[in-house]
Subunit: 204 residues, 2 copies
């Protein structure tokens, strides 16, 4: 059987989540690099595979695709130590992953995109104050939880941590300052100390 | 053991998802009605339970809380016919639930909020063209999938259908027209024909 194939952009936090988990699971995979900024995910051939036109996309068997970074994480992690064994733990992991996609990524990842991928004169810079306000609200929710918990689901590193680590550790790229969030910073360090940890490549 | 308690606003699609599933599972529950529009979820007492200040919130045992509508659906549905039995089916259900929260709800639910909860002269009306553009993109992705599938995960009604039904069937409230989306309309009718189906209350 050929190893699964991941279509992604290396500097994207959503794509990095999948790569980090695959490395930590020590699963073989092929990485297909796509540059979203030049429209690679808007080509008809790609849209036939993923009508929503986003990365990452997992080709789990030839010609069969799964999308949405956090759904891919669950698919890959089931049965491993990265996916909680008990029903409540699984629900708590999903709670934090839905929080990440709804209340965190749309602000922290989008601010990073505007600051790193668009020219300094771009009109979308005007979105930054609102993105920072909402992003800091999400970081405050994380800070509160992490002030009494080592990881997002109790004491064990899980895919909820991978999902939230991706854009949180790179929040400075979008103009966020984590100085006043000591629990978040300590958690970032704990994630980086996990076995087989792999850093996220910088934006090219 | 006391039945679980749901804190929610009846006319919210995210809250309705949880109620519809509880009814279809025939589980006892208590419903605590909160009016988000008058700040009920921004009170210190509520924020102590859910620092992110949103509904729905499930009190699964006294003093223990779970948030994020789609995570609550998974928690409640595990072990039932509404949650796929196989790993790939579970991942596909989650794929559609993350799609719902990232690419669908932020446009279709927000347009509904602006059109039904704010005065016609409100400045946020200017967001509607962009919300409609993105919302129709999400509906087109659904139309394409449903043109060759009865439900979101194959032939079986699941919590992925509940998650997407909530705001899709009420899209007209936000100014969307489903006329040119026959597969979406046929799927809405199929959802409404499910045993123990309960309609969503209108916005008061």
């Amino acid at each position: 059987m050929s190893p699964p194939r991941v279509y992604g952009m290396s500097s994207s936090g959503n794509c990095y989540k999948v790569r980090l988990l695959l490395e930590q699971l020590q699963l073989p995979y092929q990485w297909v690099e796509l540059d979203v900024r030049t429209g690679a995910t808007r080509q008809p051939e790609y849209l036939r595979k993923n009508p929503n036109g986003r990365v990452p996309m997992l080709e789990y068997e030839p010609g069969r695709y799964l999308v949405e970074s956090d759904a891919i994480l669950v698919y890959l992690a089931e049965g491993s130590a990265f996916w909680p064994q008990h029903r409540l733990g699984r629900a708590q992991a999903l709670q934090w992953m839905f929080f990440e996609q709804y209340s965190h990524e749309p602000y922290i990842a989008v601010a990073r995109f505007i600051c790193t991928a668009l020219p300094a004169s771009h009109a979308r810079r005007s979105e930054l104050p609102r993105l920072h306000e909402r992003g800091y609200q999400a970081l405050a929710v994380m800070e509160q939880h992490l002030s009494h918990s080592r990881f997002f689901v109790g004491d064990a590193y899980s895919i909820a941590d991978i999902a939230l680590y991706a854009y949180t550790h790179a929040a400075a790229d979008g103009g966020f300052d984590l100085q006043s969030l000591p629990a978040v910073r300590a958690w970032i360090a704990r994630v980086q100390q996990q076995p087989l940890f792999l850093p996220m490549p910088p934006v090219q």
